[in-house]
Symmetry: C2
Subunit: 529 residues, 2 copies
């Protein structure tokens, strides 16, 4: 087939906030009153865009060289373009930008138009010792875009925007080959024209890219049904400073180590993914979300475990703990006729009408047996599924410190990790801090825990959060959890990676890095300890 | 829990044949007549065991040093023990031994009793430049035990027999931690005492080990239902010459590259796996195997694809092509009331009675819709599922060259690869060669092809087979297949690995090897090109 391009242009995100202006909203009045009562509020607006201090733009021979590689129109040094590729969208990232600190900005933004141009930029960067930061949607929340600057002649953001084609559809094998710069909605629209879906819907879906999903081992809200992104990827093409890597020999082989699983999660530190072959599914003709209630988080996790181990998993499965359930019900549009207390579960099914009916019956039997009560159909969760980050901006505007973190562990240690992380967070931020948690990804052997934390801002919110994050991360590792279930390592989790994979694991990563990126120009300071 | 050891000792295999003497049988008379008519037969017995030429046994300071590490009683230099760890069980391996060539024998066999002793042997080997060949069940069919001898002070077989404990069961998370030396039946017996099963039943099941399954990315006959072994592994402990590697942080993480997937398939070339944490399932209370018939291999593969893409896969799924179907029906115990011609499918379901009933109904609907005819319950396949290699020995005894090979590719290329491999085999071995094929592992996006080849022996059967194998392997790679779906790389597939993963992929493997095994003593000549 002829490669296909998206019909719509991807919107650029706000420089100091998540998402697009049309979707911004101040904190609802009721929520504002609630937050004010618990944590206190005050106006903490961002500085003006013009007031943000950026790095010195690329100039001279380096800039000329880059322009020659991809064409002058695809190299940008203006402040607006560079600012919008400065760090990612974690709360620390936003706090720094809101305070006017844009010193981690790239010195230039380059937009190659092909695999070969990506390769040429990498060769140029290696030759001139320029750090290269691959850029997809800019949605990192782990400092994945904050490369080390010291020791480099410059830092360039390698924006993959122009690599935005659907290259191939194989409707016999049910695979599609996508370029890395495609945003989630663009990829879905291109696939939908073929009657297909990828089924990958993380909260960052509207802005994140195919390449980013692969490079960070993203998980989506429907991963219980469709699988994590690393399970969807069957083939990869990667540009590295030492040459091209193509892995495309079939769904599974026994031909040695699975090198796809080395590039998945490589966060731009080992190479730049220039195409991804993924498993696709028919667009579901039926979607059904229901709400269940359990008496406690312990009852709820037992029910989710039973479901995960029953062999029948729904497409979407999400359990809020008591606090998150209470807070969600406290927002005006979600209060229903439901009895207060307990824990809310959202169960979603997608597929053919018959498949949804069969899976719904099977899941409902397990959930009822585990003590759950069906509350009815859910619309609120699906409607608001991508809105969390907008709410965060509204809270940051009124002086509330709010952030999320997540982990994964075995079922047998889930409550130990849950308790330890909560204790670490309130130990660091004070008992007044609000800690919400949900389980959103289940496996037969374990599950993720996703925490949302809100606390008073204090005098130095950045330092305050960094201390809390450190305590929570230490707790995760001390109790058998991973430093991250689906947010990647970046710069922020790097100090814990040696605890996660051990010193020999770190040596393996360093050896791979040295082999594929001998000049050390690929996203330096990210991932590899 | 206290670690548990198996109640039974693992039987040692015959030095020049598969399996144990009790199960040996001459070719049935009807089969003998058939083979004689098509290919011709003649007696081609093996030489006497005493006539096999072995390497020079380890002696002197090296032997003393090894004895000090693990105890003299755990170091063996007698010919019988060394001969039984000489190469694996491919037809070329058997042909060489039957002809009296045991020159690839290890110079000593060492049996460490713990992770620490394994680590000590590796350190000793690195210091003295002794090649170490990790040994599990000795079932390799790709030359995985035939290490390079040149440049080494000796070659030692690291027999993992004594690492045979079930270390832990977590019946909340449904995981078990097993040592690598456990044979398939031993592991299943230990787990069965806890009401659990691993569900991994490759044809080598009776002799192969947990460590071998992991190190070679084994797939089993029930992998459609339970998953490939690399999908069952959640945690690993590995001894390397540079230290211990422990990966155990949960079912799935986003903490960088998945290093488990580097050690899975590492074939003893990067480290020695000393424990494996695997997903387990309840012992099924129901098992049902049925036979279906399709008009042709093309109809059959279309049906299997429909099943794999329907979201409802049986536990066992196996489709024989026209030739394999005809040959199977030609053996006396399998002729039934079934109409001749077409292609046979075996469909197996395991689980609770209700789950089996539900899956059976769902699968039957897909198979019937795809044009299949249900023939009835199957008993023959399950009864004979581990017998193939015994039949091979009986054929080798009467001068028939017989061997298997396998690949995997996308559904859209399956028939192209099928035709190309068959053409390569008959092109090399002549039109009289019998080429059977079955599909035994299906994925949503592709499937495996497993070929059994029988031909006249010729004057130099080894060279004759090597030429055919080379032609078939070239055909696999030229048409988009992998060099192996579930037999690993070893020494035999190594020449094709660069085509499979490309020069950059090879650089990654070499860099990992150099980092983890700087002295190059781990299974040299295996896997890494």
């Amino acid at each position: 087939m002829t490669p296909e391009r998206p019909a719509t242009t991807a919107p650029e995100m706000h420089w100091s906030r998540w998402g697009v202006p049309e979707r911004e909203a101040p904190l609802p009045e009721a929520a504002h009153a609630l937050v004010d009562a618990f944590l206190g509020t005050r106006d903490t607006p961002a500085v003006a865009e013009e007031a943000v201090a950026l790095s010195v733009p690329l100039a001279g021979a380096l800039l000329d060289g880059l322009r020659e590689l991809v064409g002058a129109e695809h190299v940008h040094v203006d402040p607006a373009t560079r600012l919008r590729r400065t760090r990612g969208k974690s709360t620390p990232d936003l706090l720094r930008l809101r305070a006017g600190d844009g010193t981690d900005s790239p010195d230039a933004v380059v937009r190659p138009g092909s695999h070969d141009e990506v390769a040429a930029v990498l060769a140029w960067a290696a030759e001139h010792r320029v750090a290269v930061v691959p850029f997809g949607g800019g949605t990192s929340v782990v400092g994945g875009l904050q490369a080390r600057r010291e020791g480099y002649a410059g830092v360039v953001s390698l924006d993959l925007l122009r690599l935005d084609r659907l290259l191939a559809v194989d409707d016999v094998s049910m695979t599609a080959t996508l370029e890395p710069g495609l945003r989630g909605p663009q990829a879905e629209a291109l696939l939908a024209a073929h009657g297909l879906t990828l089924g990958h819907f993380p909260q960052s879906f509207e802005h994140a890219t195919i390449g980013g999903f692969a490079a960070t081992r993203s998980s989506g809200q429907a991963s219980s049904g469709y699988g994590r992104f690393d399970a969807l990827v069957l083939g990869l093409r990667v540009a590295t400073p030492v040459g091209e890597l193509v892995l495309d020999r079939g769904p599974a082989t026994a031909a040695g180590p699975d090198l796809r699983q080395v590039l998945l999660g490589s966060e731009g530190a080992l190479g730049v993914i220039t195409s991804v072959t993924v498993r696709v599914r028919p667009v579901p003709d039926t979607r059904l979300h229901e709400r269940w209630r359990f008496g406690s988080f312990a009852e709820g996790t037992a029910a989710l475990r039973a479901l995960a181990q029953s062999g029948t998993t729904p497409t979407v499965l999400r359990l809020s703990d008591e606090t998150e359930t209470a807070v969600n019900l406290a927002t005006p549009d979600q209060v229903g006729g439901e009895s207060a207390g307990g824990c809310l579960v959202v169960v979603g099914h997608e597929g053919t009408l018959a498949a949804v009916a069969a899976r719904r019956t099977a899941c409902a039997a397990v959930l009822a047996e585990a003590g759950g009560t069906l509350l009815g159909e859910d619309h609120a969760w699906e409607r608001g599924r991508y809105d969390g980050p907008y709410l965060r901006d509204a809270l940051l505007d009124v002086g509330v410190l709010v952030e999320t973190l997540e982990t994964v562990t075995w079922w047998s240690r889930l409550h130990e990790v849950y308790d330890a992380v909560r204790a670490a967070l309130t130990g660091s931020l004070g008992e007044a801090a609000l800690v919400l948690c949900h389980v959103s990804h289940v496996y037969e052997t374990g599950a993720s825990l996703y925490f949302t934390v809100a606390s008073a801002r204090g005098d130095d919110p950045l330092a305050r959060w960094q201390e809390a994050k450190r305590a929570a991360s230490d707790a995760m590792l001390a109790h058998g959890g991973s430093i991250t279930h689906h947010h990647a390592v970046g710069r922020d989790h790097r100090p814990w990676l040696e605890q996660e994979v051990g010193p020999v694991g770190v040596r393996m990563l360093r050896a791979l890095k040295a082999e594929l990126d001998p000049a050390g120009v690929l996203n330096p300071g990210i991932l590899v300890p």
